[in-house]
Every structure is written in structure tokens, then in C-alpha cells.
Symmetry: C2
Subunit: 337 residues, 2 copies
């Protein structure tokens, strides 16, 4: 079985954009409102999109969440974020209900800059216990590129960690769109978020002492972390930390959203195999085909297939076993089938 | 000959810290002041530091600039930055005068958040024409982690580019210390700066049309860029840009400050060999030895030595020819010897 742990509903019907636009047009007076999207539209958007790709690439099931760039936590206040999160999470739930063999839900959270993440506990609980979500996306920078909230190792974030631990769900650490013109979204802000949080965890090792079962998934192959594994090892050792392999690897995982052969090789030669989760981010940041190969850039299986140093056991970990361990609620679901 | 294009005066005598502390203690009333550092102190700091390493590693000459983390452009106003830059540039000049066979100067600039880089032209000209500097360090985020100035492709930056082009010197795009607790300096902010500016250049291709001979050097192996070369190719192609190799490679170079074998291999398998410049950042972000090899993490030659796909011609480009091309004033100096 091949589990793709990183997929977003980037192909949602236009009714979702209409809903969001109306919401943004009345930020001063937010209401929940209603979304006008039919089941047929949902079905078509998936069948022609992610499901088609899943089948043609030969992957089995995707952990599926609202579009990351669309979370837009910097837009409006916490109520706006609340209504928007409920709406997009419900929409993803419709996908997962329609295609239960192909998609398992992961939720976004109603974060807002400078608002305690305690306000996200109820929505996380609702999504996990009522909608069957197996994880959440947690934005380390709800300001969208100005980084005004504390580092993720700060006690500021503890309320949501308590709920994650209680529900036994991991968080993918995933920023949303950037409203800072210095940072292109998928080409800069995303990667900066990944690597910055990894370094935060080196700087302050107390977090995972306080929450030994807390689990972070770093998307986009961990930003620059595997490429600079030597740099991080060196910095960590100088700070008196243990070897990275003896230090953060009970709590941090990396996905395989890296879109060329040398990059994928670096990821899997650097990070322990137990800490890498197969993913494609399909359909996501890079939607086109590589003109040199006529294959999709984000068809990450092609790069993994060529790594002859991976054993069959390694591949099973990468494609399935690690994901079942990091997302125990997904494991339970799959076992129940 | 092996030219290391990325070295900082991180071992400066304590008189420099005393000077800076006095300056920071009177930010409201900045004066130039005087620095109390003897020639013997300078000599000792180099002979026991960078020069010792140079000799033991077998490199020949370093392009040498003030400590990047010490630039601190967010501290005080533009006058503070002016005095501080003059002082540190003069100190580096003393090193280069004392050890002319081993160090060639690169200057820092008196940047300040929200102050036009036009204010840096005079210091750049002074350093190049009077102190013999062959390049400069240009900070894309003088705010130290809050990114309040425009992207480097914005016309805001053009005044300093005009002077760089006139003097025929490149800029290493190098942030300084971070005062944003989300970003560890050398473990996050540095890498974020590198990759964010690369992406800015993809977003706005006008910059290098307006300045076809402008040259940027991205330190720290380009942040995450080579690791995500496929991602950047894909994003660029989707934006209607040419292949990266036909697009930015007349204007952007990457250094080799990558501290483990797989990372170095990714760099040199991804970026064209004409666009990589040998460097170590010694003595810099990672000062220790790898306990697994008993060699310094930042002794980057060890990783390059093992890349058997590099030809002799490739190595000559990497170690010498590319640097002479990007830093023509260094080339002229070396030829004059």
C-alpha cells in the first residue's frame, strides 16, 4: 500500500471561492454564511483531479486537507478564520465521505495572528471526533510572512499541543499564503516555514520533553533541512544537543515532496528512513510536467523508484508503515476496512 | 589555486566588541569614536584562526569580510550603521594589508531598515577604490528578520546596483543577525534569506534585464535552492520563465558552504558548474569538528574531493576560474602579483 500523506483540495469547485470572496468582502461583520457546491461538482473535481492522478501513478490513498495557501489566517479576525475553517473542513469531509477508499481527512485550524491557539481546540476536536480527521495542519506564522507570533516551542502553543496529544493526532507544520512581498508562497515562504521550525526545535529542546508524544510532520522535504543536515548537526552539537538522530527523531518527520532526483537522494541519504513519509503534495505547488521527462514534477514515486540503496523494508516503511505510526487514527481506519 | 570566496572576520580582537558595545550604549547620540585594536592583536587573531585553517586545509586565499552576524543593520539608525561599517571595513582592510597573499577584502554596507540603499554608495566606492575591496555583502533584510523592505528586485534597490555595476563588483546576498525569535540566525534566517531572494529573481525577471551585468552570490549553498531545483524549475516554467539554466545563470552564483556529503553532491549535480564558487564560510556558522570524521564540518574540500563526477576542468572552474570571473577585481589583483 502507498499512502500519500500530503494532499490538498486545490481543485475545489468555484463555489468555495465565491464563499470566500463574500466572506472577505464583509470582514467587519463576519457570518458563517452558506456554501453552494453540489455533490456532482465535488465528485467531478476529484475524479478529474487527484483521483485520476492517484490511479495513474499507482498510489492508494491520500491524507487530504484544505488548500494550504487558502487558509489565509492573516485575513480577518479569529471569527472569520473559524467560519472559514469549518467550511473548508466540512467540504474536505464531503470528499472523504464520497471517496472513502482514496482520501482520509486532515483539517485546517481557525488560527489568527496573536490569538492563542487555544481557540483551535474545539475545531480540532470536532474534526477528529466527528469528521474522522487523522491530523491537522498547524501554521507556524498566521501573519502570513511577518512572523509576529512566538516560536512553536513557546508555551503560547501548548494549548493546541495538549489537544493534539489527547486526540493522538500529528500536525503538519504548514504555513499558508504570504502577504509579505519578499516571500513568494510556494517558492519561499513554505520552505522558510519548514526549516525555521526545525531549527526552533533544536534551540529549545524543552518542547518534546513536555510533550514526548507530540508529532510534527515537516512538509516539502523539510525545506532545506536534509540538504543542510551537516550544518544542523554541527550547530546542534555546538549547542550541546545530542546527535539529531538521538534527539528529534521521536517527534519530527519529513515528507518526500522534493521534485528532482538529487534532492530526493539527499533526503533519503540524510534523514533516517523511519522519519520519512511518502508524499507528493499533488495537486499542489508544481502542477506541470517536466519537459525533459514528460512526467509530472510532483510524481515523486519516479525519484524514489531510482534509489537503489533503499531495501524493500525501507520502501515499506516509507510508503506505509511510518505513516501508520505517525497517524494512528489512519492506521485504525485502514485496519477497519 | 583555491580561492575561498566566503570568509568573515569572526575572530576579531575584543577591542571591536568594546567599540560596538559603546556604540550601542549611545544609539541616541552616535559618534564615530575610535577602536582600540593593535596590529599584534590583529595578527594573532588571524594567524591562530583563519590563516591556520587555510594552511592546514590547503586553500590559498579567501575573500574576507566583516562578520555577517555582526552587521546588525537593525541596530540604531543609518548613522550608526555608517560608523560601524566604516570601522569594521577598515579593520578587515588591516587584515588584508597585513596578509596580502591570503586575504582580499569584501565590505559590509551601512544599510538601515527603510533607508534607501542609495546611502551605501559612498561607502561601497570608498571600500572598492581606496581599500581594494572586490565585492560587498548586501543584506536583503536590514530589519533582522521582519522583512519590512521591498524585495531585491524592486527599484528601491537600484541605486546600489548602479554603483555595483559601475565598479564591477558582485554582492553576496547575506542577511545579518535575526532579532525575530522565530528565526535562529545561522540555522534559519541565513538560509531563508538565500532562497527567498532566488525566488524573488524568478518572480521579477526585469531586474537582470535592467542590469545585465549585475552579479549576486548566494551563500550557504543557496539555502534550499539546489535541494529543490526541481521545484524551482517547475514553478519557473509554470510562470512562463525559461529553464533556470537559460535564465538566471548569467547573474546568480552559489557558494559551496554545505557541510555534508549528500548536500554537496546535490549542489553540484543540480546547479551548472559555471555557477558554483568554492567557499567554506570558515571560521563561521559551524565551528566544530564532526565527531564521526574528526574533520571540521566547514572543511568543504573534503566533500568536493569525493565527487568523482567532477572533471579536472570542473574543479578548476569551481576553485578558481569562476571566482575570477565573478570577482574581476580579485582576478586583476591576483594577476598583478
Amino acid at each position: 500500500m502507498i499512502i500519500d500523506i500530503h494532499g490538498h483540495y486545490t481543485t475545489a469547485p468555484k463555489g468555495l471561492d465565491v464563499y470566500r470572496k463574500a466572506q472577505i468582502d464583509s470582514l467587519d461583520n463576519p457570518t458563517k454564511g452558506t456554501i453552494n457546491v453540489t455533490d456532482d461538482e465535488v465528485r467531478e473535481s476529484i475524479e478529474k483531479g487527484q483521483l485520476l492522478q492517484q490511479k495513474s501513478r499507482g498510489t492508494d490513498i491520500a491524507l487530504f486537507s484544505p488548500r494550504a495557501g487558502g487558509m489565509g489566517h492573516h485575513i480577518g479576525d479569529a471569527r472569520v478564520s473559524q467560519y472559514w475553517s469549518e467550511t473548508t473542513n466540512d467540504l474536505v469531509h464531503r470528499v472523504c465521505t464520497m471517496f472513502p477508499d482514496n482520501f482520509i481527512g486532515v483539517c485546517q485550524l481557525p488560527q489568527s495572528p496573536r490569538v492563542s491557539p487555544a481557540n483551535c481546540r474545539d475545531e480540532l476536536e470536532r474534526c477528529v471526533t466527528q469528521l474522522g480527521c487523522v491530523g491537522c495542519n498547524l501554521n507556524p506564522d498566521p501573519s502570513g510572512g511577518y512572523w509576529v507570533d512566538p516560536p512553536m516551542t513557546d508555551r503560547y502553543w501548548y494549548p493546541i499541543y495538549e489537544k493534539m496529544v489527547e486526540l493522538d493526532v500529528p500536525a503538519m507544520i504548514h504555513v499558508s499564503a504570504s502577504c509579505n512581498p519578499n516571500f513568494h508562497g510556494t517558492g519561499a515562504h513554505y520552505l522558510n516555514g519548514d526549516l525555521s521550525v526545525f531549527m526552533q526545535c533544536i534551540v529549545d529542546p524543552q518542547l518534546f520533553k513536555d510533550f514526548p508524544t507530540l508529532r510534527f510532520v515537516l512538509p516539502h522535504g523539510g525545506g532545506a533541512v536534509p540538504y543542510h543536515w551537516g550544518r544542523y548537526r554541527g550547530i546542534a552539537l555546538e549547542m550541546g544537543r545530542p546527535e539529531l538522530t538521538d534527539f528529534l527523531m521521536d517527534n519530527i518527520w519529513f515528507d518526500t515532496c522534493v521534485y528532482h532526483q538529487p534532492g530526493m537522494e539527499t533526503l533519503l541519504r540524510s534523514v533516517p528512513i523511519d522519519n520519512v513519509l511518502f508524499a507528493s503534495e499533488m495537486i499542489g505547488a508544481v502542477r506541470g510536467k517536466d519537459p525533459k521527462t514528460d512526467r509530472y514534477f510532483d510524481d515523486t514515486l519516479q525519484y524514489i523508484d531510482k534509489l537503489d540503496f533503499l531495501s524493500e523494508s525501507d520502501r515499506k516503511k516509507l510508503f506505509e508503515d511510518n505513516a501508520r505510526r505517525v497517524y494512528p487514527r489512519a492506521d485504525a481506519r485502514l485496519k477497519g476496512k
